[in-house]
Each structure stands twice: as structure tokens, then as C-alpha cells.
């Protein structure tokens, strides 16, 4: 049975971007298994456009846009669920990177954000995008990015305050 032979430049490109793509996906969904699915889908969609996309000047941005759009699309589907429990996530955590409690609090706080606010926060503060760049990748206005950023940060603060009060 005939099989398609992948384009070599695609394999080379993705080999160098897989880790980055997976991490961004993880920040969006806070679950490594779902992150793998999101990243896999983004790679698949990129390859579907590869004959045209390989010449793009900002291929990383294009791939990231595919990923974010895939994530936002998936969150609108009824079967989208966060499957990972805290125990499962905790088992994956190293001892040395960040404080476990703090990490769990932050992850929960991030997970509590609506998908578009979460995507905005990740693009702004992890991917170092400007308001304009974030707006372009999310396909919305700069004003929406600003409001989502502000609301997202306020929500994070309130969530963390609440968790700290419970802990105290």
C-alpha cells in the first residue's frame, strides 16, 4: 500500500519546534495529554498547508495561530473536558522547578480563566506578543486583547487570593 513520504523540511522544522509547541499547548489547556492532542492537530493542519506555508516569513506565528485556534475551537465542543486530576498533575511535577503548592494554585487559577482570556494571557506573557500581535493571532481587536488581559489578570488575582485564604 502506498504511503506518503513527508516533506523533509517539514520534519526538520517540527523537530525543532515540537517542545515549544507542546509547552504552549500545555499552558492553554493545563493537561499534557490534551496538549499532545492539540499540538498534534496543529502539526497536521500545518502540513496540510505546507506547500504554501513553508515560504512564510513568520512560520512560528502561523503555527501558533493554528494551535490557538484549534484550542479555542476544541473548547467549544461538548466533549472538551479537563481530564487530569490534581493528583495526576502532581505526579508529573519535579521537585526542583517551582514550589508544588504555588504551581498547583497558579495552574488552577489559569485553568479557571475563560478560554479566550487564557489564550490572551499566554500569548501576551509567555509568547511575548504585543497587543497588536496578540490581536492578529486571535483575530480580534486590540481593545478586546486589552480587556481580556486586564480581566484575566484580575481573575487570576482573585482566584489566588481565594486560594490563599483557604490555605490560611
Amino acid at each position: 500500500m502506498a504511503h506518503h513520504i513527508p516533506d523533509g523540511d517539514f520534519v526538520d522544522y517540527m523537530t525543532g519546534r515540537s517542545l515549544w509547541l507542546r509547552r504552549v499547548a500545555y499552558l492553554l489547556c493545563q493537561d499534557w495529554h490534551q496538549a499532545d492532542d492539540l499540538a498534534q492537530t496543529a502539526m497536521t493542519k500545518l502540513y496540510a498547508q505546507w506547500p504554501r506555508a513553508r515560504a512564510f516569513d513568520h512560520l512560528d506565528a502561523y503555527l501558533r495561530t493554528i494551535l490557538v485556534n484549534t484550542y479555542l475551537s476544541e473548547t467549544r465542543k461538548p466533549w472538551w473536558r479537563r481530564l487530569a486530576s490534581h493528583e495526576e498533575v502532581g505526579a508529573d511535577l519535579p521537585a526542583a522547578t517551582v514550589d508544588l503548592d504555588t504551581s498547583l494554585e497558579l495552574r488552577d487559577a489559569l485553568a479557571a480563566l475563560p478560554p479566550r482570556q487564557r489564550a490572551t494571557i499566554v500569548l501576551r506573557y509567555y509568547c511575548d506578543l504585543s497587543v497588536q500581535q496578540t490581536a492578529e493571532e486571535l483575530g480580534c481587536s486590540q481593545g478586546t486583547v486589552k480587556s481580556n488581559t486586564s480581566r484575566g489578570l484580575v481573575a487570576l488575582r482573585l482566584r489566588l487570593e481565594s486560594q490563599n485564604e483557604v490555605t490560611a
Binding site: 515540537s18 500545555y26 498534534q40 496540510a48 511575548d128 506578543l129
Partner: protein, 416 residues
């Protein structure tokens, strides 16, 4: 912070965001900014990656090919919800005589403008029966075939789009055909393509016109002369001889019914079970003008509207048995010629409607368990034909509820 601050728009005020974050009471000395927090989270130890670049390339290649097929079928560049395309049941409302009759697209030589990106040599099927009679004269929505059996992994997402591709923009001529696509649960690619092509002397394969690429669901068979294709005898399908075509790892099973319809079934993934699956699907396939029950009816459309059903696409018609969410999209045109305008009706279970798309206008309601929206690019364009508003059209859309036993294939009733 990082370079992002330098790139930020002058109207932005990042300081306010950073100040907000700094004021948060959670150990600010350890988490000076959101970027630090996110980078720390991203550095967490992860389980082994399940990402597979080669699988992405394989699936992406199939997706690329399917998109070309959809573009070929629809003549547009957006795949979107119409991962499947079909041609059936266009009808034009004519209240002058109190009856509806077909639009031009229902003729046996409905024309479609395509952008075929590949060429293939096809065998010309011999017409062995009368041409299929036009359907839909009473606005009854019918499909040319229904699946009687499907592999388990194809049960969740089914796209069917009986509709009118009478885009008379020149170019190649297609016979009126019905196509359906079924997306696999992997969500990566439509898994099954079905096409039913009635016999016609205008079959492009017989006239030397440019052909759609294989896999479009339109071409019945491939020539064995293609470097990447082969053809062989297939099993008997309900008493009819069939042919296997293998092209780039994808099998297509084709046969002709006693009415002369040419049926093609192809499986999007080159799995080892493809031939067995396709044979089983073929044996259980119902072929004929089969009424397609819909959850809405349109009543009271004024004759002056010259309404025409452009296209019907439904996702998950088996919803309820699979747990997935049903949705229906209907494209309507009003008026004709250069003055024709379009509107759309979307239907989904209550709470699952997508509302009015960005950049469009319209009105929505929830009725009898269904979210129903009528939308258009511009309210005025439609109201030129349909008085007094899109809301009036919405008021004429009657919900038949969520019980499929109550649904009706008669899309338009009670015209005046």
C-alpha cells in the same frame, strides 16, 4: 518583563497590568510577573510526548487532499462545515400556480464551476437505465443514498450536504450528484466519501473536460494508466459487479445500480481494513430518492421572495444515538439573477446554537427545544426580497422539536 513590553502598542498600558499583578498577594517576591509564572509552569516535568511528526505529515497530506476535493466540489476556498458536499433537491418557489417547481439546477445537467487541481483519466460509465427523475418538486428534501452500516469509529460526526450547486459560472459540467462525507472520530480527516452520480450524457468524463481529482466522490473509477493508481475487479455489490481503484493508498469501490447510478465509496485512511469496511458499507447502502427528515419547516413565504433552497448541510444526523450534537445549516437565496441575495438558517439543540456570526445580521429564537437563527450579510439585501425583515423570515420558521419522529422532509409548506 521581556521584549513584549518593547513591542506593545503605544495605546496599551502594560504598566497597569503589571501593577495589578504585583499587587496580588500570592508570594509576589517569588512570582514577579505573569511571564515568570507561565515560564515556570511550562518548565514542569511532562510525561513522554505523544506527538508524532510523521503521523502529522500523513494525516496532513490526506487533509490537504480532501480540502482540494471540497474546493473542487464547491468551487469555493472554504471547507468549513461543508467538509462534505452534495447536490440534490434544489427547488424554486413559484406560488403563481400554487405549486413549487424545480430550479434550473435540478435538471440533469446542473452546472458547477470547479477549480480542479489535478487531472485524472476516468472510465466512462455506461448508462444502463433511465436517468434519475428529478426530485424535490414539492420541496421534499431527499438524499440519493443513506448508510445502513458504518464502522464504529465513524459514528460521531457525519456531514451530509444535499444542496444545489447550480453555480452557473461557466466551466465544467457535472451531472447532478449526491455526496456525503463521514468524519472519523480522530477528528483529523473525513473517513468515508460517498457519491452517487446519475447517468447522463453530460458526464464530464465522457466529454473530455477537465476532471476533478480522484477522491472527490464524483469520479467513479481511475484509469490503471496513472502511475500511482491501479484498478481491479471488486466484489459483487447487491448483484452488481464492482471495481476497486487504489490511488495513493486510498481504496475506492465503484459500481453501477440497475438504474444506472454510479456509486463510489472511498475511505480516507489507507487502513488495512479499508476494503472490508467499504464492502460492508456498500452491501448495506440504501440507494434511491430517500426523504431526509429535518427539524424545521418554513411556512408562509411570499411568492415575491423567489426563494430557492441553495444548500442543506447537516452534522450528526444520528445525534441522540451517539451523544453528539446535531446541527443543520440551510442556505437560501432570494430573488434571482444579479439581484439575488442569500440568507442562512442554522438549527441546533437549545443551548448549542452558535448565534449570529460575526459580521452578519439576523435574529434568533429558541423554540420547542431548538435554537434557530436566521442570518445574512446585510439585512437590507434580504428585505429587498423578503418583507419586512429577517425577523419575519425567522417567524416563518417553525420548529418541529427534538424528537426525530416528528421531523419532516417537507422543508417548505403552507406558502402563500
Amino acid at each position: 518583563m521581556t521584549a513584549a513590553n518593547e513591542n506593545r502598542d503605544s495605546n496599551d498600558n502594560p504598566d497597569s497590568y503589571d501593577k495589578e499583578w504585583a499587587q496580588m498577594p500570592h508570594q509576589p517576591q517569588q512570582d514577579p510577573d505573569p511571564a515568570g509564572v507561565l515560564h515556570a509552569l511550562a518548565q514542569e516535568t511532562a510525561p513522554p510526548s505523544a506527538m508524532d511528526v510523521l503521523r502529522a505529515a500523513r494525516d496532513g497530506f490526506r487533509l490537504r487532499r480532501r480540502r482540494q476535493v471540497v474546493r473542487t466540489l464547491t468551487g469555493v476556498t472554504t471547507a468549513g462545515a461543508l467538509a462534505a458536499a452534495a447536490v440534490l433537491v434544489p427547488a424554486q418557489l413559484d406560488r403563481t400556480g400554487g405549486t413549487a417547481h424545480h430550479g434550473s439546477a435540478t435538471s440533469q445537467t446542473a452546472t458547477v464551476t470547479t477549480k480542479a487541481t489535478a487531472t485524472a483519466t476516468v472510465s466512462c460509465p455506461a448508462a444502463v437505465g433511465a436517468a434519475a427523475a428529478p426530485v424535490g418538486a414539492d420541496f421534499t428534501v431527499k438524499v440519493a443514498a443513506r448508510f445502513g452500516w458504518l464502522p464504529a469509529n465513524l459514528g460521531n460526526e457525519i456531514y451530509e450536504a444535499p444542496g444545489n450547486y447550480s453555480l452557473n459560472q461557466g466551466g465544467m459540467v457535472y451531472p447532478q450528484a449526491y455526496n456525503a462525507a463521514l468524519r472519523s472520530t480522530s477528528n483529523a480527516d473525513p473517513g468515508i466519501f460517498l457519491s452517487v452520480v446519475p447517468p447522463t450524457s453530460d458526464d464530464p468524463s465522457c466529454s473530455g473536460q477537465e476532471m476533478a481529482p480522484h477522491g472527490s466522490g464524483i469520479l467513479p473509477t481511475l484509469s490503471a494508466t496513472s502511475a500511482t493508481s491501479s484498478k481491479s475487479s471488486g466484489p459483487e455489490v447487491n448483484g452488481h459487479p464492482s471495481t476497486w481503484a487504489l490511488h495513493e493508498g486510498v481504496y475506492t469501490l465503484s459500481w453501477q445500480t440497475s438504474d444506472g447510478d454510479t456509486i463510489s465509496l472511498s475511505e480516507g485512511s489507507p487502513e488495512s481494513s479499508a476494503q472490508a469496511d467499504l464492502t460492508h458499507i456498500a452491501d448495506a447502502l440504501q440507494v434511491g430518492a430517500i426523504p431526509l427528515p429535518l427539524p424545521i419547516q418554513i411556512k408562509g413565504v411570499p411568492a415575491s421572495a423567489k426563494m430557492e433552497v441553495g444548500q442543506i448541510a447537516q452534522n450528526n444526523p444520528q445525534a441522540g444515538t451517539t451523544g453528539a450534537t446535531y446541527d443543520l445549516q440551510i442556505a437560501l437565496t432570494f430573488g434571482n439573477g444579479n439581484t439575488a441575495d442569500q440568507a442562512g438558517i442554522s438549527v441546533a439543540p437549545a443551548g448549542h446554537g452558535t448565534g449570529i456570526p460575526s459580521g452578519e445580521v439576523g435574529a434568533c429564537k429558541t423554540s420547542d427545544g431548538l435554537d434557530i437563527c436566521v442570518t445574512a450579510p446585510n439585512d437590507k439585501l434580504v428585505t429587498d426580497h423578503y418583507m419586512p425583515s429577517l425577523k419575519a423570515l425567522l417567524d416563518d420558521v417553525v420548529s418541529l422539536g427534538t424528537n426525530q419522529a416528528d421531523w419532516s422532509p417537507n422543508l417548505v409548506t403552507g406558502t402563500n
